[in-house]
Symmetry: C2
Subunit: 335 residues, 2 copies
DNA sequence: AAAATGACCTAAAAGGTTTTCGGAAACGTA
DNA sequence: TACGTTTCCGAAAACCTTTTAGGTCATTTT
C-alpha cells in the first residue's frame, strides 16, 4: 500500500511481470522480439510500480546524457532566456535538459563551470554572451561540441550565431525613407561596442543607398541608457532643427529621446519619427507612442543555435559566424 | 602524445600509478589509509591524464546527483533568475548544478518536466511562480523535497518563501508620512492578484497607524502597466486635487504616473511624491526623477529558498509560508 | 523421424565509481 | 620461532540499465 521509499528499478518490474530483466527492458523500449502478451504484462507491472528508468544508469551505459550546458556571462536574463526556450523547442519537448551556469563575467568561474559540466558529461555546450563583441574561444581540447550565441567566438573555426545588426539598422532606415523622411539622425551606445558599430554601419549604408546625408553629419555615440536618449534629443535638435527622424541604438535610448523631444514641442511621429532597437516589450510597447523597433529574433537565434548544436553532436557542424536576420516591428512612432 | 579521445577513467589512472582502482579512488578522495608516497603517485597520474571523475557513475552509486531542478511557470526572467543566482550562491560555488525547466504556464508541460527531472534523480526541486498567488502543490508523493519561491504552495505543509508585501507597502507609507505627506493615494494592479491585495492591505494598515485617510477614499485597482499609471494620474488628481503622495503597486505604474503628473503641471517630488514597487532597475533608476521603490530582495529570497532546500534534503524542513522582508530604496521621487 | 527454421526469452557483460572486507606484508613482543 | 598488531593495499560487490550472444522450445520442412 505505502509507496515504496526507494524508486522501483527495472529488476522490480521484471520480477513482478515474471520475466527477465533483459525482456523487461526490450518490452519497455520496443526493441527485439517479445510476445504481445508478455509486453502487456511488463507494461502493467511498470505502471503498477510507477517505474521510471534511471537516467543516470542509462547515460552511463550509452554515453549520452541528453543534457546540454548553457553558459552565460551576463546575468542570464536578457539573452540567456530566449536561448533556453529555443533550445527546449529545438529538441522535442523535454527530450533534452539544460544545465544552466552563470559565470557572472568571471573567467575563473567560467572555467570552473566548464569543468563541472564536463564531469557531468553534457552532450554539448551553448555559450551565450552579453554583447555581440567577440569573446575568447573555449572550444580548444573540449570533447564536446560548442556553439556560441549572441557573442561570437574569436576563433573562426568555431560555430557562432549573431544577429545581423548591420541589416537590422539598414531596415530601419529604409523604412523611414519609404515613409518620406529625409533628415535622419543616429543615436547609439558606446563606440567600442561591436553592436554600436554594426548598427551605425547599417544606418550609413542605407543612407548612402538612398543618397541621403546623415542628419547632424555624424553618428552620436553615448551609452545605452534612457538618460543619454534625453540628452541626445537636445543635441540632435540643435545640430539640425529640421531633423525628421532618428534611429536609436536601443529602445532605452529611444524612450528617453521620445520623451525629451516631446517636451521640446516636437510631435512624435508627425514632426519626428523614432525607431528603437531590441523590441524590449516592456519599454517599446509602453512608451507614448509605442515604438517602431528592430527585433533581433533572439528566440529564433536561440533555437537555431540549439538545432545546430544538435547537428554538431552528430558530427555535422558548419563553422563560422552565422548572421541571423532581424525584423522591423512597425508601431506608431513612425507614421 | 595525442590526447585520448575517450576521457580517462580511474582505471587508467590506477594503471599508470601502478596501484589498484580502490587505492586510486581512496587516494583521490582522501579516504582510507594510503601512504603519502602512493597518494602522490596517484595524483600525478591523474594530473597527467587530466582525469575528471565521471559524475554519472558516482551519482549512480551514491544516490546523490548534486543537482536541483528549477521549475518556473513564467518565462524565467523576472523572478526565476534571482532565484537561480541565489541558489548558485547558497551551495558552494559550482558544487550544485541547476537543471532549468520552463513550463510556460502549462500544467501538462509542468508534469512532464517533473517526470524527467525525477528520472534524472535530482536531489530537490525549487518551484518559482510568476505571481504571489498560491499555486497547486506538486509535493504529493514526490521522493524529493520541494521548496516554493515567490508563489506559495496551496498546501500549508509545504515550504514556501514569499516577499512580505504587506510590510513592504507599509514601509513605503511610513516613509511618506515621515517626510510630511498627509494625503496619500494608492494605485495598483488587478484586484484578483494576491500581490495587489497585500500591498493595498499594507498601505491601509500604515495609514491607520498614522491616523490618516486614504486620498480619494479607495484603492485604485487597474493593471500592471505604464499606461494604467498615466490614466490613474488623472483619476487621482481629479478625485483629490490636494493629493501629495502616491504609492504605486509597481514601478511600471509609477513611471506612467510620474510622467502624466508632470504633464499636468505637478512637480515630482515637490508637489507629489511617488513610490514604486519592484525596484526594477531599468525602470526605477531611469525615470525622471529616479523612483523611490520597494525592493523585494529576490536574490536573498532565492538564496534562502535554496538554503532551505539544502536543509530539507537533510531532513530538516520547516513547513509553512515564510514571508521575507522587503526594503525601501529611497531615491529622488520622494523628498 | 530427423533436421532446419523461427519465435521468444535469458544470462552475462559493460559502463565508472565508491566502499567493504579481507589479505599481505612489516614490525614488535613473548 | 610463534604470535599479535599495525599499516597499507586489492578483490569484489553494488548502483541500474541496455545489448549481445546464445539457448530453448514449438513448428515446419525434408
Amino acid at each position: 500500500m505505502a509507496p515504496p521509499q526507494r524508486p522501483a528499478t527495472i529488476t522490480d518490474v521484471a520480477a513482478l511481470a515474471g520475466v527477465s530483466i533483459a525482456t523487461a527492458s526490450k518490452a519497455l523500449n520496443g526493441r527485439g522480439q517479445v510476445r504481445a502478451e508478455t509486453r502487456r504484462r511488463v507494461f502493467q507491472a511498470a505502471e503498477e510500480l510507477s517505474f521510471q528508468p534511471n537516467a543516470l544508469a542509462r547515460s552511463l551505459l550509452t554515453g549520452q546524457t541528453r543534457t546540454m550546458g548553457l553558459l552565460t556571462s551576463d546575468s542570464v536574463g536578457r539573452f540567456g532566456i530566449p536561448v533556453l526556450l529555443g533550445a527546449e523547442d529545438a529538441f522535442g519537448a523535454g527530450e533534452m535538459a539544460v544545465l544552466l551556469c552563470d559565470a557572472r563575467g568571471d573567467s575563473i568561474r567560467e572555467q570552473h563551470h566548464i569543468r563541472t559540466l564536463l564531469a557531468r558529461r553534457v552532450d554539448g555546450l551553448i555559450v551565450v554572451g552579453e554583447s555581440t563583441d567577440p569573446r575568447p574561444s573555449i572550444s580548444r581540447d573540449l570533447p564536446v561540441p560548442v556553439v556560441y550565441a549572441y557573442a561570437p567566438s574569436e576563433d573562426p573555426d568555431d560555430v557562432s550565431f549573431v544577429p545581423d545588426d548591420v541589416d537590422g539598422a539598414a531596415q530601419a532606415v529604409r523604412h523611414l525613407v519609404t515613409i518620406g523622411r529625409r533628415r535622419i539622425a543616429h543615436v547609439t551606445g558606446p563606440q567600442h561596442y561591436q553592436a554600436a558599430q554594426d548598427r551605425a554601419a547599417g544606418v550609413t549604408l542605407a543612407l548612402e543607398e538612398a543618397g541621403l546625408p546623415m542628419s547632424g553629419g555624424q553618428v552620436l555615440y553615448g551609452v545605452w541608457s534612457q538618460r543619454w536618449g534625453r540628452q541626445a534629443a537636445e543635441v540632435v535638435l540643435r545640430a539640425d532643427p529640421e531633423v525628421d527622424a532618428v534611429v536609436c541604438g536601443s529602445d532605452q535610448i529611444a524612450a528617453g529621446l521620445v520623451e525629451a523631444a516631446r517636451e521640446r514641442g516636437r510631435r512624435v511621429p508627425e514632426d519626428l519619427a523614432v525607431v528603437g532597437y531590441d523590441n524590449w516589450e516592456v519599454l517599446s510597447t509602453e512608451t507614448r507612442p509605442p515604438l517602431t523597433t528592430v527585433d533581433m529574433n533572439l528566440e529564433v537565434l536561440g533555437r537555431t543555435a540549439a538545432q545546430h548544436l544538435f547537428a554538431a553532436m552528430d558530427g555535422r557542424a558548419t563553422p563560422g559566424v552565422h548572421r541571423m536576420p532581424c525584423r522591423l516591428i512597425i508601431r506608431e512612432s513612425t507614421v
